[in-house]
């Protein structure tokens, strides 16, 4: 299905990432955004509020993030594509509702422009420390899809893709951008509507009385209907059967009890290969592979250039889809290379996944950064150099001591003059 020309503001723009995400959402056919202002994601909400009414879409600023995500799920079941926009603290507030979204299989998108954390942290500067939260933040077992764009153009493109994935797999999809990308102004090309591919909602077309809201198709994803179309829906956040009716705990009787929640994780895990998107470069003879995502990828490019200048063979792997994690790819690479270098703007999150998937075959070096800034490419280059020269197998993640750390803790840096 192609995008509706009414929703697409075709043209070439110079805009920041947040704005591009707002344009992308509308182009993807988003009809409802419930949001709450939070730096640094507000511009996306502002953009949507400005362009939505002309396309019959609506932006509502809810009273808090709890309300905004609940309204988004409501709107999703009313039959429209929906999104919410937030950053770290708001994202933490949404955790309970994300579980509900996974449970009632409402397709919706969350745009999280990450900032420095924890808690209020550094609101106006960047961070990548919500990556694990995206996967594990809500209680109970569920799987989500998370995408990490690295430029305003990608925030446009991957917002559309996020909508498509959420419709396809009926699960919450997170766009885990960061403040740098969100506030970076670059050229953004909005293509004509006929060049934008849109995944339509998987509506049920059979006879009304036969409809089961949670009866899966072959790919484990059930079909949806709209509220108010006379299907007599019963949708609950409790563990439910195919009809949607809650099932009770029968374990006291000592019986086996099959839980339908298994499908919620399987529908992503078994389709992981179709979902995962990566880019790789220079892998053929690489001794060290740099694994990065989001803004760190763009910094890593420079770090790799420096290292290559010293004659080191470095491969560059970029995770566009961070969740589900490309276990197989990393595992495969691990048997070929000496080490992985993972620069990320946190003190170790995705690096542990890389460590897990490398199964002790390659060393893993973390180049950390606390946030409120990006890496110094020299640090990445030095970490690469270290990794290529390290002969031993090291049974833990090596945390590279960055220039910043040395400066702050050893260089006599004074915070209070």
């Amino acid at each position: 299905m192609k995008a509706n020309p009414r929703d697409v503001n075709t043209g070439t723009y110079y805009m920041d990432g947040d704005v591009a995400a707002g344009y992308g959402a509308l182009a993807a056919g988003c009809r409802f955004i419930g949001g709450y202002p939070i730096t640094p994601s507000t511009e996306a909400a502002e953009t949507f509020a400005r362009i939505a009414p002309q396309a019959g879409a609506v932006f509502i600023q809810m009273e808090d993030e709890l309300g905004s995500i609940a309204s988004v799920m409501g709107a999703s079941w009313s039959g429209v594509k929906t999104m919410t926009i937030t950053s770290g603290p708001g994202y933490s507030l949404m955790m309970e509702a994300i579980g509900l979204g996974a449970m009632i299989e409402a397709p919706f998108v969350i745009l999280n422009i990450q900032r420095g954390g924890p808690s209020t942290g550094v609101p106006t500067k960047t961070g990548q420390a919500d990556m694990m939260q995206a996967r594990w933040g809500s209680h109970g077992d569920y799987e989500v899809i998370a995408i990490a764009p690295d430029s305003p153009q990608e925030l446009f493109d991957y917002t559309i893709k996020a909508f498509n994935l959420s419709e396809k797999y009926r699960c919450p999809v997170m766009i885990m951008a960061d403040e740098c990308v969100g506030h970076m102004s670059e050229k953004v090309v909005v293509p004509p509507a006929e060049e934008i591919e849109i995944e339509p909602r998987r509506f049920y077309n059979g006879p009304k009385e036969k409809y089961l809201p949670f009866k899966p198709d072959k790919d484990l994803v059930p079909k949806m209907v709209k509220a108010g179309d006379g299907y007599n829906l019963y949708i609950t956040g409790l563990v439910h059967d195919e009809k949607g009716y809650p099932i009770k705990n029968q374990l006291e009787k000592g019986k086996r009890q099959k839980l339908p929640t298994r499908r919620l994780v399987d529908k992503i895990r078994l389709n992981a290969d179709k979902i995962i998107e990566l880019t790789e470069e220079g892998m053929d003879d690489a001794e060290v592979v740099v694994v990065s995502y989001g803004i760190s990828y763009r910094v890593a490019i420079r770090g790799i250039e420096i290292a290559r200048g010293k004659g080191i063979k470095v491969g560059n792997l970029r995770l566009i889809t961070v969740w589900p994690f490309p276990d197989k790819k990393i595992s495969e690479l691990a048997s070929k290379v000496k080490a992985f270098v993972v620069p990320e703007i946190n003190y170790g999150q995705i690096v542990f996944e890389v460590e897990r998937c490398s199964h002790g075959q390659a060393n893993v070096v973390l180049v950390p950064h606390g946030g409120a800034g990006v890496h110094n490419p020299e640090d990445i280059a030095e970490a690469i150099e270290y990794a290529v020269n390290e002969k031993k197998k090291i049974r833990k993640v090596v945390e590279w001591k960055t220039r910043l750390e040395k400066f702050v803790f050893e260089g006599g840096y004074k915070l209070n003059k």
Binding site: F32, V58, S78, G228, Y234
Partner: protein, 253 residues
């Protein structure tokens, strides 16, 4: 069956609305049979978020008639209640209040909801109709589980209103699944002896206190432009022809 649910189902029928257009959002799980019988769509969402979820449903499809059941005494969801009242979001909120009995009776309450009995018995409850009224609800009423007939009519009236309507129902709280079908006869007796109906009473005077009788009745009934009308009017004024108003099927794919 719980008298409130029965009254609710009868109330919808009395209102003459298209049943398939009604969506019930609740943080209390209903028995599936009830929903099947009522012929409405039903969403059981996280605690306290029924009103916010309903807001999304309404704005996603303005043709829907949304009814939100809140069973948590507006604790978790209090904020959504006051803000939706302020916006005058078109929806009916039925607030099931099980707090009062314990407050007033002063004796150990029957275990209507295990675990809740001992808590905070010293705290003053909200004057729910007044709170709703003060933040802009167009319709407020209070009934007990005993006033099934009045409750039915009230629900039918409220569904007729365009705007944010709140009906508080004093009842044993169906906080947990199994209790939804249980009603305590002792409690009904208590309501019978201790309530008085005063329609159109100023909501300031309907606070529930241990000393006075519970005032029931329809308290507020006013006209105010609902959110979607205000939205369409304001944006239409500014944007003119470019604006695609909410409502009908215009904005939907």
């Amino acid at each position: 069956m719980n008298p409130i649910i029965t009254a609710f189902v009868n109330g919808i029928k009395k209102s003459g609305l298209e049943l398939s257009n009604i969506v019930v959002v609740s943080d209390i799980p209903f028995e599936p049979e009830v929903i099947k019988e009522a012929g409405v769509d039903f969403f059981h969402v996280t605690r306290g978020r029924a009103i916010a979820f309903g807001t999304g449903l309404k704005l996603g499809n303005p043709d829907l008639k949304v009814v939100a059941f809140i069973g948590d005494l507006m604790t978790l969801g209090g904020n959504h209640l006051v803000h939706s009242g302020r916006r005058n979001m078109e929806m009916l909120v039925i607030c099931v209040n099980n707090f009062i009995y314990k407050e007033i009776a002063g004796t150990p309450a029957p275990s209507v909801s295990p675990g809740f009995s001992a808590f905070s018995t010293f705290e003053r409850p909200f004057n729910a109709p007044h709170l709703a009224n003060s933040c802009g609800a167009v319709y407020t009423a209070r009934w007990t589980a005993l006033h099934t007939n009045e409750l039915e009519n009230s629900i039918a009236n409220a569904l007729d209103k365009r705007g944010f309507s709140v009906i508080e129902v004093l009842s044993p709280g169906p906080n947990f699944y199994k209790e939804i079908n249980q009603v305590d006869s002792e409690l009904l007796d208590f309501y019978y002896k201790n309530s008085v109906t005063k329609n159109n009473e100023d909501t300031r005077n309907v606070e529930i206190t241990p000393e006075e009788k519970i005032v029931t009745g329809e308290f507020t009934d006013k006209e105010k432009s609902p959110f979607i009308d205000t939205y369409n009017a304001q944006l239409g004024k500014i944007l003119g022809d470019k604006f695609i108003p909410l409502g009908g099927q215009s904005g939907r794919d």
